[in-house]
């Protein structure tokens, strides 16, 4: 019985083992190279952990939280505004013709330009920072959701009309489930992009957050501290991925054969 149990558990365990082995191998490689070079420019993993401990005493989690807060706000704004714009473009051909040029323009506007303009126009404020990040992300969300709007099933729309579904019921049961894969793509790409832009925004015009701390430690050439913040950052993104995005996607896919 114990043997059978072990065998049953093996595949699940194997799924976990390989990423862990691969990660350990990476850290070992890093440790070996760092030991060979022996310079503060490439600290060892142990030195980075030590840096995390010293930074914790100086508000490490506060800075992470600040960044996380900005990411959440910018992400929420970008997803809602971007989806609304994208769906309007995808579901209405006249709107698409009128504004698809604008979308292309904003898609190709460099992030740095938006950030600088926001700070120049609105001052070095929190609102300007979050707006700059959101404006960078909105065109991507809109472009993705526009495809979703175009792909909506006309047969199901007719069915919903025939059975007199309310606007709310149509959205909830007919439209949004069809858009779920597009939301997932927009959310995943969005999160990655928003994280990175938030750091730039913090670097240029904020006095807290991970981006600000990276800037500070860059001036001091403290690579161990820079890697310490990068590490915390990666861990937070991974947690969001595993705890939020993956379960949600799994749930949205459950009806498939």
């Amino acid at each position: 019985m114990a043997a059978a149990e072990r065998r049953a558990k093996l595949p699940a365990a194997a799924n976990w083992i390989w990423p862990v082995v691969s990660l350990v191998a990476f850290i070992l490689l890093w440790a070996v190279i760092a030991a060979i070079i022996g310079s503060p420019v490439l600290p060892t993993p142990a030195a980075v952990i030590e840096a995390v401990r010293t930074e914790i005493a100086q508000g490490y989690f506060g800075h992470l939280a600040m960044t996380l807060l900005r990411v959440t706000a910018a992400f929420a704004i970008a997803m809602s505004v971007g989806s609304a714009i994208g769906l309007a473009l995808g579901m209405n051909r006249a709107v698409d013709r009128a504004f698809s040029g604008w979308l292309t323009f904003f898609l190709n506007l460099p992030a740095l330009v938006t950030i600088i303009l926001c700070y120049v126009w609105f001052g070095l404020t929190e609102v300007a920072a979050i707006a700059a990040v959101a404006i960078n992300k909105i065109p991507n969300v809109a472009a993705t959701l526009r495809e979703g709007g175009r792909a909506l099933d006309r047969d199901l729309e007719e069915m919903a009309g025939l059975f007199a579904l309310s606007w709310r019921a149509r959205m909830r049961h007919v439209v949004l489930p069809q858009l779920a894969p597009f939301f997932a793509v927009a959310a995943r790409n969005g999160l990655a992009l928003v994280w990175k832009i938030v750091l730039v925004v913090e670097l240029l015009g904020r006095s807290n957050g991970v981006g600000y701390m990276l800037h500070l430690h860059f001036q001091l050439f403290d690579v161990a501290a820079i890697l310490a913040y990068a590490l915390g950052f990666i861990v937070v993104v991974q947690i969001i991925e595993l705890a939020v995005l993956e379960p949600w996607e799994r749930n949205a896919r459950s009806w498939r054969r």
Partner: protein, 257 residues
């Protein structure tokens, strides 16, 4: 000319012209269905039956002519079942504003023999079962008139028989008027009080006959065959009725097990 009749009819329509671009599909088709009456609309595949059904259902309003419908709900069973793949069969029915109740949805599914599949997703059941679920959905809103688009197409012969019996049974219990679009004349005789036939290009009404068979008599395949031979026998020999009874009909893209 028939104002009086119009008021008595469950549905009354006169399509003077329906075209897609420059291609005229329907020309001068007048149709009335009395309360509780069962009418079969015959015609070769692709002649415009589905177009006419969409007009009668109020889905397609882009036509020249008039459409009056008695107060009371209209339901439709589409040729492809048009169930929401991300909702279970029960949810598919319960989300209609006129049902809004899981117990009623389950009762409707039980009526068409799907009690065991009530919590399955559409993709997990066969096409025949999806059709039955679509029929249950139509019946669940307690319609005054129900439109069926090729309800038996792409089912294997054994299932055709079962579906025929089921449709007759639910017609008897729910006293709704019905319009059944089909290319199969035997099927039409087995189901309807009156047969109308569309033909030509653009399609017009080429014939209209009352079935000599009572609702009881048409359950008997031999009686149906007799009328079929008397009405269409010679035509079938010359090949104009090719495929109407001999083969199950052209296969459609949505066909599966």
């Amino acid at each position: 000319m028939k104002d009086h009749d119009d008021e008595d009819a469950a549905l009354s329509a006169h399509v003077r012209r329906k075209a897609f671009g420059s291609a005229e599909i329907l020309h001068d088709v007048a149709l009335q269905i009395g309360h509780g009456e069962r009418v079969a609309m015959l015609g070769p595949s692709g002649c415009g039956k589905s177009t006419l059904l969409a007009i009668l259902a109020g889905i397609d309003r882009d036509f020249d002519g008039s459409l009056t419908r008695d107060r009371g709900r209209l339901a439709m069973v589409f040729q492809s079942p048009r169930l929401l793949p991300w909702r279970t069969l029960t949810q598919n029915i319960a989300l209609l504003p006129d049902v809004a109740d899981g117990a009623r949805a389950r009762a409707a599914l039980a009526e068409v023999g799907l009690a065991d599949h009530a919590d399955a997703y559409p993709q997990m059941v066969s096409l025949g079962q999806q059709r039955r679920a679509a029929l249950a959905r139509a019946l669940a809103i307690d319609p005054k008139i129900i439109l069926l688009d090729e309800p038996l197409v792409s089912l294997d012969p054994r299932r055709v028989r079962a579906m025929l019996d089921l449709i007759r049974r639910v017609f008897d219990t729910h006293e709704a008027a019905a319009l059944i679009a089909t290319h199969d004349r035997r099927e039409a005789l087995a189901l309807a009080d009156r047969l109308i036939e569309l033909g030509g290009r653009p399609a017009t009404l080429v014939s209209e006959r009352r079935s000599p068979l009572s609702r009881q008599e048409r359950c008997d395949p031999c009686a149906v065959e007799e009328v079929y031979q008397a009405w269409f026998g010679s035509e079938a020999d010359t090949g104009t009725d090719k495929g109407a009874g001999a083969n199950p009909g052209p296969s459609h893209g949505d066909a599966d097990g």
